[in-house]
């Protein structure tokens, strides 16, 4: 059965005057359609200038993260039937807007790059694969599912205030490598996140956990990192 929804979209068009405005579009959508389908319908039939990022359309690539009805979500994963009649759509908070719902993500990606997001193991690799028990792999399983959509970091009040804060996504990425038994750069990574703008800025607000499209409990991982840092502090860096 189809229902009418009103999409109230915050526009930002650099070439027009005034650059920012709110547009409203009434769209008919059925019960399994999502906010992204609505946006596409509007772009195709109403206003071709409406700009937003999209790719996989089923919640695995992380392109279409935006603020929907006051909360960061993936547009392709938010079913319209779960939303109110009037759906307010804005770009991700706290990042410079390029156009309409597209934000400049480079600051977010730089945060991830700061925690050395790659396996560092300079020992000569063995003949076959490196052995890792299922339990060890399970420890990093949840932090692996992150698709880097940016919803968590841009939903964190600390990141809004302090752009130097590494942010939940970067800290989760640090967790993924610190707790990977094959990685050999644990000290370096801990030093990066042990800084004034690292794990100590997290005040267990849980906004990141509220918005993560992959339902990752990010704060739990940051708390684990804090306990690890405290333990390492007492032991003087010895495992």
């Amino acid at each position: 059965m189809d229902k009418y929804y009103t999409f109230k979209i915050k526009r930002y068009l650099p070439d027009e005057n005034p650059q920012t405005r709110w547009d409203e579009f009434r769209v008919k959508l059925n019960s399994i359609e999502r906010v992204l389908d609505g946006l596409i319908k509007i772009k195709e039939t109403r206003d071709g200038t409406l700009t937003f990022r999209k790719s996989c359309a089923h919640g695995v690539c992380g392109s279409c993260a935006m603020k929907i009805s006051g909360k960061n979500r993936l547009a392709c994963q938010t079913l319209v039937k779960d939303m109110p009649e009037m759906i307010e759509i804005e770009p991700l908070p706290a990042l410079p807007v390029i156009k309409d719902l597209v934000v400049d993500m480079s600051l977010f990606f730089r945060k991830n790059d700061e925690v050395l997001p790659y396996l560092i193991n300079n020992e000569t690799p063995p003949e076959r694969e490196r052995i890792q028990s299922p339990e060890d792999q399970h420890k990093i399983l949840e932090s692996l599912t992150c698709v880097m959509c940016g919803s968590c970091t841009t939903a964190c009040p600390i990141f809004w205030a302090d752009k130097e804060y590494l942010g939940p996504s970067a800290l989760l990425k640090a967790y993924r490598f610190i707790f990977d038994t094959r990685d050999r750069a644990k000290e370096q990574r801990l030093a990066t996140i042990n800084s004034e703008h690292g794990i100590w800025r997290c005040h267990s607000i849980f906004n990141c956990v509220e918005v993560c499209p992959k339902q990752i409990d990010i704060t739990k991982h940051i708390l684990l990192l804090k306990r690890l840092a405290v333990k390492r502090g007492f032991k003087g860096g010895v495992e």
Partner: protein
């Protein structure tokens, strides 16, 4: 319009698995620039769920020879057997390398890479299903892509994110470089290079119901076609049997690998009739045809056009541990829990077997006689070494991207010294800028969306699993009218900044060209083989169709050349499962 110039020894287009893997290979011996329409980890490779096949034999006895046989049989004997052998024998080393790069595979109790059963993969030449798919829960593509992209970052590869390639410049049979536009601000960039690796993936978006992402439009293939290069085996397009009904989101074959079965309206496990031995784990073309056959004969679920994939009997822990992603898909999009309710599925357009003609080392060939385009390489779904032939086995695609991504990168580097630096002439750039402005300023009344929707619908109706001559002829006419309508497209968004409407228009032009190649290739192949099933020629005709088709773009339309399949070890036999 000021133009920003760059120079790289190797320019790689596409940052999915093939692109990143060849970038890693090239980064050690030369400067590498990777262009991508999306941020690399958003490439469609991240949506691959099932696994990556390799005869590691971690869970049960296995051998690359059996893997070769399965792939050859799965390809309905159209795959070049020397290339398939290279892939299956290289697989073991490549997967181990991936693990060393940090890919977090799921593990066996002994700590080795875990493997599960997968469609078409069997033990000792087709006897029983074998555990050959190395997986990382049901997010294998995501796990491998992140590891490869991270290794690229470690090696300092330069990425140009959100750059749309407008033209691959080839002059006097040698690669000069690439013209691209930075989507963020519309600035024009020219990348001159010695070598170009095309790794842009498939073109599933040509079909209406597809599991492919919006970025898979295959415009680089049509750019090469327009410069006289052939596209091989374009009529073979795989339809994955289990896509969520109405959404096209994929339910990995791994679900059937873990014990899921397909049920029709009468609750029968109908696959027993179509593939008595390995039933639901038969290759994808067979399962897709079986499902659509059941629906056409009125045995769909309460008469409607879908069947059930039933996982209720699979023990809950396995579903949670090994299939978490598809569980969330079913819960979020259909509101059902796979361990309690059956999942409504239909075949969806999934993988392109055809693509740019390349040899076993990733070099792009100009013609059937094997003459090479200097400095041009291709890898992954966009290339057609033809290891997949007429139908790809599950988890051979991730393997293909990684094995041939590495080989393409290695060959590109080894030939760097004897290739001269590319030089892109002014006229070529202004020609491109001209063509964009004509699209931008055209005063027509058509919209990108309407032309695209008609293209996708007609391709889905007339050129999907079941094909007939009459329908294909009608399709070709429709494509001609679509070409005319394309000239009348009106773009509302005139700005330079992030103009997605203009990009979609450019992509649409290339999609129409590709659609025409697919339709005419399907029309001229008068037999049924693998994913290409002709209702008017239902039999496989090895005597005169055991050959690859090469589509060329001539003035008067598409013309074809052929080359026999390289048979080494396995003679074509009747394909029973």
């Amino acid at each position: 319009m000021e133009i920003i110039k760059h120079y790289f020894d190797v320019v790689i287009i596409g940052s999915g698995l093939a692109g990143c893997r060849s970038a890693i290979e090239c980064s050690s011996h030369g400067t590498v620039g990777v262009l991508s329409k999306l941020y690399p980890t958003r490439s469609h490779s991240t949506a691959a769920q099932g696994g990556i096949g390799a005869a590691l034999g971690n869970e049960e006895e296995d051998s690359p020879e059996w893997h070769t046989y399965d792939t050859v049989k799965g390809s309905d004997f159209l795959g070049d057997q020397d290339a398939i052998e290279i892939m299956c024998y290289d697989a073991i080393l490549t997967i181990i390398e991936l693990e060393h790069m940090g890919v977090p595979f799921s593990r066996t109790p002994e700590g080795r890479i875990a493997q599960r059963r997968f469609g078409g993969h069997t033990k000792d030449f087709g006897k029983t299903p074998v555990r050959r798919a190395c997986y990382s829960a049901d997010r294998t593509g995501h796990a491998v892509l992140f590891a490869l992209y991270e290794q690229c970052q470690l090696k300092g590869v330069k990425f140009f994110q959100e750059f749309q390639v407008l033209d691959i410049v080839i002059e006097n049979n040698a690669v000069q470089g690439v013209i691209a536009v930075n989507i963020k601000d519309g600035s024009l960039h020219v990348f001159e290079s010695k070598a170009i690796v095309v790794a842009t993936g498939g073109y599933g978006k040509i079909f209406k119901v597809t599991s492919n992402a919006y970025a898979t439009t295959g415009e680089c293939l049509s750019m090469l076609l327009r410069q006289g290069l052939p596209l091989e085996d374009m009529e073979f397009f795989q339809f994955h049997p289990t896509g969520l009904y109405g959404l096209g989101i994929l339910i990995t074959e791994g679900a059937r690998g873990e014990g899921g079965i397909l049920l029709n309206g009468k609750g029968e496990r109908f696959m027993e009739r179509y593939a008595p031995i390995i039933k639901d784990l038969a290759p994808r073309d067979m399962v897709s045809r079986a499902i659509l056959n059941e629906i056409r004969e009125g045995r769909g679920i309460d008469g409607k056009d879908y069947v059930y994939l039933d996982l209720r009997h699979v023990n809950k822990k396995i579903i949670e541990e090994r299939l978490p992603e598809i569980t969330t898909f079913c819960k979020i999009y259909m509101g059902i829990d796979p361990s309690e309710a059956p999942i409504p599925v239909i075949p969806t357009a999934h993988y392109a077997m055809g693509g740019i003609l390349t040899d076993n080392d990733g070099r792009v060939l100009r013609d059937v006689d094997g003459s090479v385009v200097e400095g041009l390489y291709a890898a992954g779904e966009s290339a057609c070494v033809s290891v997949h032939g007429a139908n790809r086995l599950g988890c051979n695609s991730l393997l293909d991207t990684v094995v041939f991504g590495k080989r393409a990168g290695k060959t590109a580097i080894s030939q760097l010294k004897d290739v001269s630096k590319g030089k892109i002439k002014k006229e070529r750039i202004s020609f491109i800028v001209e063509s964009i402005n004509t699209i931008k300023e055209s005063k027509g009344k058509e919209t990108v969306a309407s032309v695209r929707r008609d293209l996708q619908t007609s391709m889905m109706d007339k050129c999907s699993v079941f094909r007939k001559e009459k329908e294909l002829m009608m399709l070709l006419e429709e494509l001609q009218t679509l070409k005319e309508r394309y000239k009348e497209i009106y773009i509302k968004d005139k700005s330079n900044i992030f103009n997605t409407e203009l990009l979609e228009a450019i992509e649409l032009g290339h999609m129409i060209t590709l659609a025409e190649v697919i339709a005419s290739s399907a029309l001229q192949r008068t037999e049924s083989r693998g994913a290409h099933y002709r209702e008017d020629y239902p039999e496989r005709d090895d005597t005169n169709w055991l050959k690859h088709t090469f589509a060329f773009q001539g003035e008067k339309g598409i013309y074809f050349k052929y080359k026999p399949v390289k048979l080494t070890r396995f003679k074509p036999e009747e394909r029973k499962y």
